[in-house]
Amino acid sequence: MRLRKVFPSPRWGVHPPDRKRPAADLPLRVLPLPERLFVPLQQHIGTPARPIVRAGQRVLKGQLLAEPQGTLSAAIHAPSSGQVLTIGEVTAPHPSALPIPAIVIACDGEERWIESDAPSDPFDLTPEEINRRIAAAGIVGLGGATFPAALKLGLGYRAGIHTLLINGSECEPYLSCDDRLMRDKPEAILDGVRLMLQATGARQALIGIESNKPEAIAAMEQAAQPYPELRVRILPARYPMGSERHLFAKLTGTELPADCRTTDLGVLVHNVATAYAVHQALRLGHPLVERILTLNGGAIANPGNVRVPIGTLVETLLEMDELNETPARLIMGGPMMGQSLPHARVPVVKGTSGLLALTAAETAFGTPRPCIRCASCARACPMNLLPMEMAARIGADDLDGAVELGLKDCLACGCCAYVCPAHLPLVQSFNHAKGALAARERARLRTESARRLAAARAERLEREARERAEAAARRKTERALRATKDPTPTITDPSAPERQAEVV
């Protein structure tokens, strides 16, 4: 039994009630395959993937449907075998209810996989080759950020990192998909971690798990026994312990400077589910086509963890799992940072860690009241910002004032709004401000480009005018030349000389 190092609970952040059990303790379920799968072309940060299949084409499970466009992009694979119906649009799982392009597949129910091209021993591969396979498998950060994993690992490799931090904290209430994965497949996860170590050249990996998951801790420690370079660390159960910055600080004891990335300090952070996906891709040759998510909330009849193929409509999931009342909110993700869904006809994507159907009592919504400047938000903020001051400036449309107070450092974790007695929509203010600043920057770039275009046009017009003038001058000289070379021809018509004079 190894010595455990337990950290004291920090003062920042909040500690909402867990509400993970009994869902976390129930065994993983696999729901029946839906008839249709709606696979969006963008389930990652970066450029949407470009489809390489056509309507009517038959595809196998795991077949490449869309290839990455550009460096910051990821591949999309078929979550089940069947026929591509169309490449159309589906409502994005986003509060805006905007449409996004998606490939619609009609499943044939046979679940036939593509041929595996997994190597016999992935540990024989070079780091570049491992990365290439990870990219080819379309793996993105499954903790919710959905950053293309191969790119991140490549960055780590080039930066020469020495430590990999594996995020098993799962700090959001209700969610237990990572917990379930760690309890059921600890060896597979650690295999993936070791592959990541190979891909980045790091020497050791620290797996951080919150103290409210004793079974997962035990399972992972047991599986890590044969590998001295893999160590499990128990983290205090506090939200947002899973934030990269705070995980880093807790596990390395160093505060991450504001403009630094963890790779600058020799560390790279990845989620446990991403490690598992790496294992699946390199050992079995299976690209990322399904994931475990938590169905929870007061309105769900049978809470628990389920494994679903990417592209399953939330509506289908809820039909299979059943709601026992109309939820006040339907959320994709956790209650603190998740996205509220406009309706249930949205697909599950790679970054979906959970689906919550919350009752009105659970949302504890209150009408916003005036701010009483109690500073509870400032005390709760894990980044030590002053949320009420920033919100006041944003309310007065002073976006630069809000930036000066540290808006760019805001994680949008939701701790401030969680504790605010006045129920102020603080996170919405900050998200609005960040969006407005981005729009302002885009508008500035647009204005710049318009200025360049207008200048180019002015130059074009000037050039054309110049050319016209030169051409006119040339024609004039040519005519003059012709007139001198060619003397006046004999004219029988007595009025001809006058006509000639007119022409000249």
Binding site: P370, G395, L424, A443, A450, R457
Partner: protein
Amino acid sequence: MITLDLMTAILSLTGLGLILGLGLGLAARVFAVAEEGQVSALLALLPGTNCGQCGFAGCLGAAEALASGRAGPRLCPAGGATLVPLLAKHLGLELEDAGHDEGPRIAVIKESLCTGCCRCLKVCTTDGIVGAAKQIHVVLREACMGCGACAERCPTGAIQLEPMPVSLQHWIWPKPKPELALR
């Protein structure tokens, strides 16, 4: 006695007020800050397309109007709502409530009405229309500043100014209504 005191008080304070007020007004004239660099700085903020929608002689005319105070920061339709606070900040003006802004607009050519006359092409301030004689024209979204010159010129009315379509990447959370939602 009381009346004399009262009169003295009134006269002295009034006199003081008058003198000081005149002094302030004089100082505002005499010591006014020269604003030469301001025109070029304002010009740099404006789009520079000289579309004339503001009613002044090109962007230079608008910059001069802004600097001299003849026009407010909301004068430029092509710059849109994002330009207004930038201009206001530069001029040191307070903006009242922003008012409702539908966002940037771009010209869209209705293909069924386009005759390929090429008139819009010639007046586009950023050369943002692609087309040839007797061919259907199209407006390049990235180049369009929403000045409306093409819409005015089109003989068949095929061009309309429409709000820029919102994509998921560019969607912004609406600003929450002030907590005086109790009003």
